[in-house]
Assembly symmetry: none
Homo-oligomer: 206 residues x 4
Amino acid sequence: MPRDHEKESAVPTTDGSDTGGTARHMRADARRNQEKLLAAAAEVFVGSGVDAPIRQIAARAGVGMGTIYRHFPTRSDLVVAVFRHQIEECAEAGPRLLSEAGSPFTALQRWIDLFVDLLVTKHGLAQALQSDNSRFAPLHAYFLDRLQPVATRLLDAAAEAGEIRPGIHPYELLRGIGNLCIGHDDDPRYDPRRLITLLLQGLRRP
Amino acid sequence: MPRDHEKESAVPTTDGSDTGGTARHMRADARRNQEKLLAAAAEVFVGSGVDAPIRQIAARAGVGMGTIYRHFPTRSDLVVAVFRHQIEECAEAGPRLLSEAGSPFTALQRWIDLFVDLLVTKHGLAQALQSDNSRFAPLHAYFLDRLQPVATRLLDAAAEAGEIRPGIHPYELLRGIGNLCIGHDDDPRYDPRRLITLLLQGLRRP
Amino acid sequence: MPRDHEKESAVPTTDGSDTGGTARHMRADARRNQEKLLAAAAEVFVGSGVDAPIRQIAARAGVGMGTIYRHFPTRSDLVVAVFRHQIEECAEAGPRLLSEAGSPFTALQRWIDLFVDLLVTKHGLAQALQSDNSRFAPLHAYFLDRLQPVATRLLDAAAEAGEIRPGIHPYELLRGIGNLCIGHDDDPRYDPRRLITLLLQGLRRP
Amino acid sequence: MPRDHEKESAVPTTDGSDTGGTARHMRADARRNQEKLLAAAAEVFVGSGVDAPIRQIAARAGVGMGTIYRHFPTRSDLVVAVFRHQIEECAEAGPRLLSEAGSPFTALQRWIDLFVDLLVTKHGLAQALQSDNSRFAPLHAYFLDRLQPVATRLLDAAAEAGEIRPGIHPYELLRGIGNLCIGHDDDPRYDPRRLITLLLQGLRRP
DNA sequence: CATGAATGAGGGTTCATTCAT
DNA sequence: AATGAATGAACCCTCATTCAT
């Protein structure tokens, strides 16, 4: 009887109301597995990229492949889940820095530092964001939904304070910094932070 | 990324003495084939990326797959050959701009414009450079061998003229700009040139 | 590099002009393989049905799986190719019997005998025809395109000769007989020919 | 058809003494579950065939998969249970028709009508009976055990009354009619009843 | 007892690479 | 020298069946 495929992807644990990709009421073993899985996927993504074979992730987690498909019907669901925590933390840091730091520009600098940490620590994240493969669209969307508003607010504050020239679009900045972080670990001669510092310099009101 | 059957390639047509990947004494038909191949590969790389199936390139060129393997034993050899012309032109423009332009910094700006053209026109080039896949190492090497000295000279001249602050490493600049060019065509909201302008602003001596 | 599937199915050797699924101008080894493949598929279809794993057919033929996909992009292409000869022979017998036999009804009886041979010898054919799986639609189509006109002519002749009552639809008859042939070999107690004889009896003008 | 993990099943609920697959002394909830299950399975069988995934049936019934396995250790057990009622009714109609109808042949005709209803209404039944998959052997067995004697009695009566020619085997008739019912709903051009009428015509004494 | 999570064999498909023609 | 047929490893994904909870 027809094996006619179909795929809908529900990202079931991504409804925005929970705090990190693990459902509240879940059998203990299932939750344990999900955690093992996320940890394993994170490691594998760093080592072999976000396109690593499902088998490899399953093996690393010590579970069957089916378990991955159960928890994360599409690869994107897994990728999003893996990076959700990190993205969340970064997003939350924005407003806090704005209220704590001496000036909006300082807050912006510090937040971008965190943003770079996010991309640099998790090699796979930058790769996935950069990939034009449509299967990472949901990650893209989640990433921007969460972080672009934060960047917008920081840039607006700095612009209002007259510290930077207006006109830079938050999306462009995030994406540019994201791009600069690609391949940071391939080569000791390349340190994205130095370039990002220059970029921010270029942004300051003369 | 797993499908990495690794093969030590010699990039045989890249010995620096010839002018573009086509040996001087070659049967007419073989040369014709090479040219068809390079043209086809260039088109395919733009459309489907540098990881496009060999078959697709062969089909577009109207030759057999074996012919590709004969002329370009590894994928990297083909990629290098495809981009060699463009890289060469860009490299040669450096000294010329330095002697023509009003100031070293202006020369630098103009040269970077050309460099960006190179990466932006040829979607596949940026992709290949960015890829951490070891099979593109030869392209990487060729690219840097040829362009880094040019960038060095331009930066040194501008630094000596006191137009920019010293300390930026040419490699880092090239790579950064290369990264910024990634994905330029996915999204109309993202224009790498605006960011590169900011970067150069940040480089100027205050 | 997007793995986005697509499938078009060209049934390349089935253009109606050749006489049995093997192209005229074909490398010797390729033709040999195609023949091995058809033979192997025929055997496997009998033993394991037309849904047998591609791997199994490849193994039996002593070729790689890719070879099957090259020659027969879809399963249906293979199935059609396997049964094409037989269907063709059966179709051609119709007019001949009509001119040779003593009466149209006798011709009809004999032709149906051949038709039953076709379905009974090739266990897989009946199975495939019966399957509601859409992937066998091309087989269905080919089968009917070729045989329904033959049946129509025989029935019309017998009706005109007043030997059978009119009104039976050729499609219905073929399909019914096809159905009766299902499972003929599971059980010695069941002989479709006896029932088919009854059916033809029932068709005779009283 | 390969996925045949074969399992010797006992069709535990089919001991002939109970009235429909539900044990007499059973906890109320268990019985409720069984009924939900049978209803769900019947619906799914019609829609997706008797090879539908267990999950799908479980979901439709609103129970876990384990519950299905508990009540019906093998798929065949479930299939038998689903069709048991219908088969039973059909079997019981035989003697009644024989005593009510004007002649044995009329009784036979009417009974076969009911028999066709059975197969045509329940798409899955014909499919399962036809399948050569050994896992449906128990269904086969049950089906014949119950209905063949009925058919025998009707045929014998008609033969004794001189209405039909002798010699047709009841098994063959049932099976033939079963086969004719296959695919009745795929195609409006095909109506098994017309053919079955012909078959019975052919059976009449001249 | 019921649930449904986990397992993993099994089948489909692609495509780099080799090598007969 | 060119061709493109053949190979088969490597991926993907589904779902029957078991068994922890």
